[in-house]
Amino acid sequence: MASVKSLEDLKRLREDALEKRKVKSASGQAQVIVAMGTCGIAAGARDAMKAILDTIESESLTGIVVSQTGCIGLCEREPIVQVVIGDQPKVTYGKVTPEVARRIMNEHVVKGNVVQDHVIPV
């Protein structure tokens, strides 16, 4: 792997992450799913994904898993992002611009308040 960073650095980061996991309360892991089908990408899903990853980095948000899915059949509502926190029901958001993505991260994922004005009833 051509990189300025080594796998030893990565192993050290892993140990740090494990320590943080120990002190983190058991509030339930958050999963953020970005619809990355062709329709989603054309509508700006990559920008939404980038905003989500940027927020995780800038706010040091731990315990969040980001994944992708394909087209879910709601192309006119793209970019679509879904959030699942612990055992709670999945919340589906539409028209997720980078700004909306940052709101979803800060208001829903961090504070638990659903961003109602972008929820798609499914």
Binding site: L7, L10, I56, L61, V66
Partner: protein
């Protein structure tokens, strides 16, 4: 540009149909636009797309563009694309190869996921490590490359 996998592959009949935008193996909708769009993008730039596939062994999609063609879309944020693919599908063993004028950047995800032993790629410090590794690798390849307007890893 080529994308190669060792997945389930396709039979000849499926390969022939896969460039039809109204064909897909998915069940959530009836269109499959990715490959048809890629083929159209290449052909509109004097290029072409070739798919070779063997059931049970995998698929190779190879696409060529005339680099100087006015309609060729820019690569955009290549490092961001690699990072998004890696983060969103960590179960895949990614092997990114980016080659410009013979200089190569290679990033394999398997050593990373093995070193992490189950820790998520989206832990903030891990994410920063991955982003910086990929961004610096892509930028390093471009350092000695012939200057061309869209060879800026931060473009788009």
């Amino acid at each position: 540009m080529s994308v190669v996998d060792d997945g389930c592959g396709m039979d000849e009949a499926t390969v022939a149909r896969v460039i039809d935008p109204f064909f897909t193996s998915r069940t959530t909708r009836k269109v499959g636009l990715g490959l048809p769009f890629l083929k159209q993008a290449a052909e509109s730039c004097n290029g072409n797309m070739q798919i070779t596939s063997t059931p049970g062994k995998g698929t190779q999609v190879k696409v060529e563009f005339q680099y100087s063609h006015i309609d060729r879309m820019p690569l955009g944020d290549l490092a961001g694309t690699f990072l998004s693919l890696l983060i969103a599908s960590p179960e895949i063993n990614w092997d990114f190869n980016y080659i410009v004028d013979g200089k190569e950047f290679r990033f394999e995800s398997l050593p990373v996921t093995q070193a992490l032993q189950g820790i998520s790629l989206t832990e903030p410090s891990i994410l920063t490590y991955l982003r910086e590794s990929i961004e610096s690798g892509v930028a390093d390849v471009l350092l000695d490359a012939s200057p061309r307007p869209d060879r800026n890893p931060k473009s788009n």
